[in-house]
């Protein structure tokens, strides 16, 4: 054999031995392709709308665990009824792992908007934790669409009115009775007034 052939063969052998000795690396450490990451993040199944959440809470779905990923201070000022507080920075603390890495409950992360909650979901997703979701629009959307639900235009579709009615019911249920009162300008004030008052009191206690 020619000298050059011997050199090439030696280099190949050396490379192959190096590769064998280099061993395997953990698959989890691998970078995820940005396209895959984005396509995973925007999948509808990962998030839950405020309307769906309202329905689940009103029917007292036992599988739901609400996780507030904002700071403890923000959590103290206002939070959803029954929520637990795991600030995003402490998401992977030892105490919190049994909550986020489980297969029994459906965890719903929420923050003020979608950002922090989506981050929490993303971290859990990359670690392979299941049954985690995040609240689309966060508390901002919860306040705007549920608690302060505004009636649709008169020309709006039937579905819009149905949605409004369900939101109004949820608003009353979760203690947003003030909305009912402030919007009483035109439609049946007497009919609305008796129910919300009672509900408002009971749910108001839950919020604190």
């Amino acid at each position: 054999m020619k000298k050059i052939e011997i050199y090439i063969i030696s280099a190949l052998l050396l490379g192959a031995v190096w590769l064998t000795l280099a061993g395997k690396i953990e698959k989890n450490d691998k970078e995820l392709c940005p396209y895959k990451l984005i396509s995973q993040a925007v999948q509808i199944e990962n998030k839950i709308t405020v309307d769906d959440l309202a329905k689940k809470l009103m029917t007292k779905d036992p599988s739901i665990v609400l996780i507030d990923v904002r700071s403890a201070d923000e959590f103290k000022k206002f939070s959803l009824s029954g929520a637990i507080n795991i600030p995003l920075e402490k998401l992977l603390a030892d105490d919190n792992l049994p909550i986020i890495n489980q297969e029994v409950n459906n965890n719903i992360f929420y923050s003020n908007g979608s950002d922090k909650a989506a981050k929490a979901w993303l971290i859990c997703n990359r670690l392979g934790y299941k049954n985690n979701f995040y609240l689309s629009g966060g508390l901002n959307s919860w306040i705007k669409d549920i608690i302060k639900a505004t009636p649709p235009e008169e020309t709006a579709s039937k579905e819009d009115f149905e949605l409004y009615n369900s939101r109004k019911a949820a608003s009353i249920f979760f203690g947003g009775g003030t909305v009912g009162e402030s919007n009483n300008s035109s439609a049946a004030p007497a009919a609305a007034s008796s129910k919300p008052l009672r509900k408002k009191e009971s749910a108001g206690g839950g919020c604190n």
Binding site: M1, E5, I8, I9, L12, L13, G15, A16, V17, W18, L19, T20, L21, A22, G23, K24, I25, D29, K30, E31, C33, P34, Y35
Partner: protein
């Protein structure tokens, strides 16, 4: 970090351009190595010249070792590189057709393009045949070959996983086989040359 294209780090145009440059270098290499000469490829089958075998074996191993080393050190994610699913029956038939084409024509698709571009008439005829085959298959694939096309589907498989070996160990074994093959073919080459006095 890599691969660059499948992660959108470089666009399609740049990807094509890089491919074009690599193509030029590859063609230049093939031509300078004398691969556009039909006797070079046919020599593998007649036993008087194994350069083609040595070059392609070396190229395949260099690529395999390089890719997996890049993967090991997290410079490139090998899971994002493309390799097709295996359909063993059509692959076997296709392989046989290619092999007969190699021996009868003396070219593989790459070297035939090289030969054609250097003005070799046999190369041009071979390229014409390749195109006829491609067009013929394209127009009949839905009617004639639909059944065969998907026969023997094995999914995405690789030999290392099937044998339960690590990729590194498998590549080391293939390298050792390559070294043995290099030594053996060099001996065959010397023997055939002495016996028949082949001229390239």
């Amino acid at each position: 970090m890599g691969p660059l294209f499948s992660q959108g780090i470089i666009g399609e145009e740049l990807n094509m351009f890089i491919g074009f440059l690599i193509g030029i270098l590859f063609g230049f290499g093939l031509e300078s190595g004398g691969f556009a000469n039909t006797r070079k490829l046919a020599g593998v089958f007649y036993g008087y010249d194994f350069v083609v075998l040595k070059v392609f074996f070396t190229a395949a191993l260099t690529a395999a070792i390089g890719l997996f080393l890049l993967d090991r050190y997290q410079i490139m994610d090998i899971n994002l590189t493309f390799y097709p699913k295996t359909f063993w029956l059509p692959t076997l038939i296709g392989g046989l057709i290619m092999a007969f084409g190699f021996i009868i024509g003396g070219f593989c698709p790459g070297t035939s393009l090289c030969a054609a571009s250097t003005g070799k008439i046999d190369g041009m005829v071979f390229v014409g045949g390749v195109f006829l085959g491609i067009i013929g298959y394209a127009f009949t694939s839905a009617t004639l070959w639909e059944g065969l096309k998907n026969k023997g589907a094995l999914g995405k498989v690789d030999i290392a996983t099937a044998l339960g070996l690590s990729d590194g160990l498998f590549i080391l074994l293939v390298t050792i086989v390559a070294v043995i093959a290099f030594v053996v073919v060099t001996k065959i080459e010397a023997h055939m040359k002495a016996k028949h006095d082949y001229q390239l």
